[in-house]
C-alpha cells in the first residue's frame, strides 16, 4: 500500500530548492488567476499543499499568492474552498499583522473557512465574532430559505465551545437552547419529497411518514433512529443537534448541589404523576399497524412554561427515553444495529448528566435505566452499553436507594472473565475503574477481591493495558490479599498462556487425530490438571494464596514460553512488581513483611521459564529485599532461619546469583545485636558456619557442568559477610583469618578452577587481604564492619559534642597559647 513512489514524492517536496520553489509559486499564481479554474489549478494547488505539509518547518508564501489563495476560500466551488483552506492551514500570512487582521474580520462563513479560523485563532475575539454570526443565522425564523450549509453551523459551534466556552454569551446560549429544543423535539415527521422518479408526474405526492429501523411506521417524534427516503433540513438538524447534545449539556449546564431531602417530596410527586400518566388510555395512534405505541409524549408534563435550560433538559430526557425504546427494535441493517448500541450509550450518558444536574430527575429516570438493564444484562454483546449503565448506578444508586449488587456481579465477575479479549471493552472498562477509583472500594465491596479477574485483561493484551494497571494496581493492594496478589502477579505469564489455551480449546475440535495438537492443550483438557488451570482462571481472591503443584503447572505450560502473548506479558510483570512493593510498604505490618520475604525466597525458583523472566524478577526481588531489610532490620533476625537456608544452599550461588548476593549481604549487614536485641551468639555462629561452608565449596571446586564461574561480587560479598559476623563474635575471627590466608596462598599458584579471569582473581584476593588486615585489630574491625546506627546520621559528623575529629580540634584550639 505504501509505495516507493510516495516516499520519493515526500522527499522531493522536502528538498525542493528555493529557486525552483519560487518558479513554482509564480506559475501557480498565473494558473489560479484565470477565470475558469480547471484540473491544472487543482493539481498545482495539491502539489503546493504537499510541499508545505511535508516539512514541520513552516514555509511562507509570497504575499500576492497568499492573498489570491485566501480569496479562493470564499470561491463558489467547494473544491477550491477545500484546497484553499488546506493550503492556508499549512502556512502563515506573510506578516503576523495580516493574520490578526484576517482573524478579526471573519467575512467567510463557509464551513471550510470557519475550520481554518478554528485551527489558527490565537485569541477569542475572532471566534466570538464568528459565533455571533452563526447564532444569528440559526436564529432566523425563515429557516426554509437557508441552504444546506446551515447544517454545519452546529459542529462549528460545538468545536468552539469545547475549547472556548466563553465565546458564547448568555443570550446566545439561551437562543441556541431554544433552537435545540425545536430541532430535537419538533422536527418534521414526514419524509422529504423524494427526487422525482421516472414516472413522476406533475401531481404532488402525499408526504409519507417516517419509519422506524425495523420498517414499521414511526408513531412519535423524529430521532436519529428514524429513516426515510429523503430528509428535510430540520431532520438533518435533528441529527446534528443530538450529536452535539452531550457536549452542550456538559459545557453549559453545571452540576447542582441538590439537597435531596428538599427535593424528595416534589420528586416523588412527579414520579407518581408520571406513573399515573402511563396508565392512561393510549392516543389514537393505535390504528397504525405494527408500531409500538410510544408513551413518551403521552407522559410528558406540559413544559412550555419552563425556562429554556430546563426545557432543553426535559426534551433531552424525552429524546433519550425514545431512543431507548427504539433500540429494542430489530434493525434490518448491521450498520443500524451498531448505531442503536451507540445511541444507547449516548442516551444513558446524557441521562446521567441530567440527573447529576438535577437530582429530582433520578426518580423519573431510574425506572427507565432499570428496565434497560434487565433487557440487556443477559447479553454480553451489549457489554459496552452496560458500562455507562453501571456508571449511572454508581452515581445515583444511593439516591434512588436501589440495590446494585447484581450490576457489580455482572460487571466485575462476568465481563473480565468472558470478554477479556475485546480491546475496546477492556479500554472502556479500565477507564471506568480509573475514573471511579475513589468510590469503588467503598461502594463496590467486591472490587478489592476481583484482581484475579481484572488481571485477565492485562494477561491477554499487556502492551495496550499496562499503563492502566500502573494506575490501578495501588488500589488493589491490601494487607489481607497482598500475598495472593504477589503470587498472582508472578504467575501472570501462566495466566496469559492459560487464556490462550482456553481460546484455542474452544476453536479447535477435541478429537482430531490428524492435527499435531499442543501438549499444553492436552494438559488443559485433561481432567487431572483441571484444578490447576481453574485456580488461575478464578474470578475472586480469597480462595488461597497459591497452589501446591505450581511446579507441575509450569512444566505443563513449558510449550508456551515463546508464545508472543506470554512473552509480552512477562515483560510487564517487573514494572507491576515494583509498584506492588512500593505500595505494600505503606500498608503492611511486620508479619506481612515476613510473609513477603518468604514468598520472595520460595518463588525465586518457581517461575515460568520464559526467557530472561527469572533474571528480571530476581533483580526486582533483590532491590526490594534490601529496601525491606533497611526499613525493618529486625526482619533479618526474625527470618534468619529461612534466609540462612537459602544462603546455605550452594546451588543457589550458581542458579540465583543476583538474589543470593543480596541475601548474603543482608545477613551480613543486619544480623547483629544493634539491629535486633534478639540476635544471639548462636544466631551469628550458625549463620557464619552456613556461609563458611558455601564459601569453602565454591572456592575449592569448579562450577557444576554447564554452569559458569560465580562472579567476583558473590565471593567478595560472602567474605565481607563472614568478616562482619566475625567482628561481632570475636572467637570466629581466627577461622576467617585462616581462610583468607589460605586464599592468598592458593592464588599464588596461578589460575584456579573457580575463577576464569585473572583480574577478577586479583580483586578477590585484594579484598581478602584488606579484610584479613582489618580483622587483626578486632576493636577497629567491629567499628568499621558493624558501625553503630548513628554513624549514618549527619549529626555524628557535625556535632562537636559527638564527632571525635571535631572534639580533638576544639581541644587543640583550647590548648594553644593565646
Amino acid at each position: 500500500m505504501y509505495s516507493h513512489g510516495s516516499e520519493s514524492l515526500i522527499k522531493q517536496a522536502r528538498e525542493i530548492q528555493d529557486s525552483e520553489l519560487q518558479k513554482f509559486y509564480s506559475r501557480l499564481l498565473k494558473v489560479i488567476q484565470g477565470k475558469d479554474l480547471g484540473h491544472e489549478a487543482v493539481d498545482s494547488l495539491q502539489r503546493l499543499h504537499l510541499i508545505l505539509s511535508a516539512t514541520k518547518f513552516t514555509r511562507r508564501l509570497p504575499p500576492d499568492l497568499h492573498k489570491k489563495i485566501s480569496s479562493l476560500v470564499s470561491s463558489p466551488a467547494e473544491q477550491f474552498q477545500i484546497l484553499g483552506s488546506a493550503v492556508l492551514r499549512e502556512t502563515l500570512p506573510p506578516s503576523d499583522q495580516d493574520m490578526t487582521c484576517i482573524q478579526n474580520n471573519p467575512s467567510v462563513v463557509n464551513s471550510h473557512g470557519a475550520g481554518l479560523l478554528l485551527v489558527q485563532a490565537s485569541s477569542t475575539t475572532p471566534l466570538s465574532t464568528l459565533c455571533s454570526q452563526l447564532v444569528r443565522s440559526l436564529d432566523s425564523r425563515h429557516s426554509e430559505t437557508h441552504s444546506h450549509s446551515q447544517t454545519h453551523t452546529l459542529p462549528i459551534l460545538n468545536a468552539i465551545l469545547t475549547h472556548r466556552p466563553e465565546c458564547l454569551s448568555e443570550e446566545q446560549v439561551t437562543v441556541l437552547s431554544k433552537r435545540l429544543v425545536d430541532w430535537l423535539r419538533y422536527a418534521s415527521i414526514t419524509q422529504a419529497a423524494s427526487p422525482g422518479g421516472f414516472f413522476s408526474g406533475s401531481r404532488t405526492r402525499q408526504p409519507c411518514p417516517i419509519a422506524e429501523l425495523d420498517g414499521s411506521i414511526s408513531g412519535d417524534f423524529f430521532t436519529v433512529l428514524c429513516v426515510g427516503q429523503g430528509f428535510t433540513e430540520d431532520q438533518w438538524m435533528n441529527v446534528y443537534a443530538f450529536s452535539i447534545l452531550r457536549n452542550w449539556l456538559i459545557t453549559y449546564h453545571s452540576v447542582s448541589n441538590c439537597n435531596t431531602a428538599d427535593l424528595a417530596a416534589t420528586a416523588r410527586l412527579q414520579y407518581s404523576l408520571s406513573l399515573s400518566y402511563s396508565h392512561s388510555p393510549p392516543n389514537d395512534d393505535r390504528s397504525v399497524e405494527g408500531s409500538v405505541i410510544s408513551m413518551v409524549s403521552a407522559t410528558s408534563s406540559s413544559s412550555r412554561l419552563l425556562p429554556p435550560k430546563e426545557r432543553l433538559r426535559e426534551k433531552s430526557f424525552q429524546y433519550c427515553q425514545r431512543l431507548i425504546e427504539q433500540s429494542d427494535r430489530k434493525a434490518q441493517k448491521r450498520m443500524d444495529s451498531d448505531l442503536q448500541k451507540a445511541c444507547l450509550v449516548e442516551a444513558v450518558c446524557i441521562l446521567d448528566i441530567l440527573c447529576l444536574e438535577d437530582c429530582s430527575l433520578v426518580y423519573r429516570v431510574f425506572p427507565c435505566i432499570k428496565a434497560l438493564y434487565s433487557r440487556l444484562s443477559s447479553d454480553t454483546s451489549y457489554a459496552r452499553v452496560l458500562l455507562p449503565i453501571a456508571q449511572f448506578y454508581l452515581n445515583h444508586g444511593e439516591v434512588a436507594a436501589v440495590d446494585c449488587e447484581c450490576v457489580w456481579q455482572l460487571v466485575f465477575s462476568r465481563f473480565p472473565a468472558e470478554l477479556f479479549n475485546d480491546p475496546f471493552l477492556a479500554h472502556e472498562f479500565l477507564r471506568f475503574v480509573r475514573q471511579n477509583i475513589q468510590n469503588l472500594p467503598t461502594k463496590v465491596p467486591q472490587y478489592m477481591r476481583s484482581f484475579p479477574n481484572l488481571l485477565k485483561f492485562l494477561a491477554w493484551d499487556s502492551p495496550a493495558l499496562v499503563d492502566d494497571f500502573v494506575d490501578l494496581l495501588p488500589s488493589l493492594v491490601t494487607s489481607g490479599t497482598a500475598v495472593e496478589l504477589l503470587h498472582t502477579l508472578l504467575d501472570l505469564p501462566c495466566l496469559s498462556a492459560t487464556l490462550v489455551l482456553q481460546q484455542r480449546s474452544v476453536l479447535l475440535p477435541i478429537t482430531d487425530p490428524n492435527t499435531r495438537s499442543l501438549q499444553a492443550l492436552d494438559a488443559f483438557r485433561n481432567a487431572n490438571f483441571r484444578g490447576l488451570f481453574l485456580f488461575l482462571l478464578r474470578n475472586d481472591a480469597g480462595a488461597g494464596d497459591t497452589i501446591d503443584r505450581l511446579g507441575l503447572l509450569h512444566e505443563l505450560l513449558n510449550e508456551s514460553v515463546d508464545w508472543p502473548r506470554v512473552v509480552q506479558c512477562a515483560q510487564t510483570v517487573p514494572v507491576l512488581l515494583h509498584i506492588f512493593f512500593n505500595t505494600v510498604i505503606k500498608v503492611a505490618d511486620e508479619k506481612l513483611f515476613a510473609q513477603l520475604i518468604l514468598v520472595l525466597l520460595e518463588r525465586s525458583s518457581l517461575l515460568l521459564k520464559v526467557p530472561n523472566y527469572k533474571n528480571e524478577i530476581h533483580r526486582v526481588f533483590s532491590y526490594h529485599l534490601l529496601k525491606l531489610c533497611k526499613l525493618h532490620p529486625s526482619l533479618v533476625v526474625d527470618q534468619s532461619h529461612e534466609l540462612l537456608e537459602f544462603a546455605g544452599t550452594t546451588s543457589n550461588v550458581y542458579n540465583k546469583e543476583e538474589l543470593y548476593t543480596h541475601v548474603v549481604w543482608a545477613l551480613g549487614e543486619y544480623l547483629s545485636l544493634s539491629c535486633d536485641s534478639r540476635c544471639s551468639v548462636r544466631h551469628i555462629t550458625s549463620c557464619f558456619e552456613g556461609l563458611e561452608a558455601v564459601l569453602f565449596e565454591i572456592t575449592s571446586s569448579a562450577p557444576p557442568p554447564g554452569g559458569v564461574c560465580p562472579k567476583p561480587r558473590v565471593i567478595t560479598t560472602l567474605m565481607s559477610a563472614l568478616a562482619k559476623l566475625a567482628s561481632r563474635s570475636h572467637d570466629l575471627i581466627p577461622r576467617v583469618s585462616l581462610f583468607l590466608s589460605k586464599l592468598r596462598n592458593v592464588s599464588r599458584g596461578g589460575s584456579v578452577t573457580w575463577c576464569s579471569d585473572d583480574d577478577d582473581l586479583v580483586s578477590i584476593v585484594t579484598r581478602g587481604e584488606e579484610l584479613w588486615s582489618l580483622l587483626k585489630t578486632p576493636g577497629v574491625a567491629q567499628s568499621v564492619l558493624t558501625p553503630p546506627p548513628h554513624v549514618t546520621k549527619p549529626q555524628w559528623h557535625r556535632d562537636t559534642n559527638v564527632a571525635t575529629p571535631l572534639q580533638l580540634r576544639t581541644l587543640t584550639h583550647l590548648t594553644q597559647p593565646l
Binding site: 510516495s6 514541520k56 484546497l83 471550510h112 475550520g115 478554528l118 430528509f231
Partner: protein
C-alpha cells in the same frame, strides 16, 4: 470531539528510524492546546508542536499495531486492488490510551484501524462515544481505501488529499462524530461519490 485524524504507515520505512511512522495525511480539528500554551507560542511554533505531537501519536499507534499483530499471530493477507472489502474485513483494530501530557495536555484515546501496512487513527477525547467513533473510523477507512485507490501503488493519498478533506467535512465535520443511520449515511456517501468524480 475528535482531536485529529491520521493516516500513517505501520511498516518499516527505510528513510526513517526503526519504530518511526510516516504520516501521510493528518487533519487537526480545533486547537490542540490549552489557552495558556497558545499564548506562550507563536503560530509557527504551534504548528511545529502539532506536527511533533502527531508524530508521537503515529509512533505509539505503530508500536501498538505491531505488538497486537505479533500477539495474535495473524499473517497479513495479500490483497490486490479490487479487493477493498477483503482488506477491510481483515483489518485489525484497537485503542491506545494517551496519558495526559503524552503528548496532548489532557488524556486522550487513539482508536486505530490497521489495514495492511497503513493505519487510520482517530484521537478522541475521554467523553466521546467510542462505539460511534469506531463505526465512523471504519466508514472513513473504507471510503479512503476505495476512493484513493490505496491498495495500488499510486500516491493518491498525497496528491488527492482534498478528497479526504471532503470526506471529513461530511462524515466528521469539524471533528464532530455524527449519529448516522444507513439512510443518512447513504445520502452523504452519494455526495462523496459525486465529489470524487471531479
Amino acid at each position: 470531539m475528535v482531536l485529529c485524524f491520521l493516516i500513517h504507515t505501520v511498516c518499516g520505512v527505510s528513510a526513517l528510524g526503526p519504530g518511526d511512522s510516516r504520516v501521510l495525511y493528518y487533519r487537526g480539528f480545533g486547537p490542540h492546546q490549552p489557552e495558556e500554551e497558545i499564548q506562550e507560542h507563536g503560530p509557527e511554533e504551534r504548528r511545529l508542536l502539532l506536527k511533533e505531537r502527531l508524530a508521537v501519536v503515529a509512533r505509539q499507534v505503530r508500536s501498538a499495531v505491531t505488538l497486537s499483530r505479533e500477539a495474535s499471530g495473524r499473517q497479513l493477507v495479500e490483497v490486490v486492488p479490487g479487493e477493498e472489502g477483503l482488506a477491510l474485513q481483515e483489518a485489525d483494530s484497537g485503542v491506545v490510551r494517551l496519558r495526559a501530557g503524552q503528548p496532548f495536555s489532557g488524556e486522550m484515546s487513539a482508536l486505530w484501524l490497521g489495514v495492511l501496512n497503513l493505519a487510520f487513527t482517530l484521537v478522541c477525547e475521554p467523553h466521546d462515544n467510542l462505539l460511534l467513533a469506531e463505526g465512523t473510523l471504519r466508514t472513513l477507512a473504507r471510503l479512503c481505501v476505495e476512493h484513493l485507490h490505496m491498495l495500488g501503488q499510486g500516491s493518491e493519498v498525497l496528491l488527492r488529499s482534498n478528497r479526504v478533506d471532503f470526506l471529513l467535512s461530511r462524515l466528521l465535520p469539524h471533528g464532530q462524530l455524527l449519529f448516522l443511520n444507513h439512510k443518512f449515511a447513504q445520502s452523504l456517501e452519494k455526495e462523496v461519490a459525486l465529489y470524487m468524480t471531479k
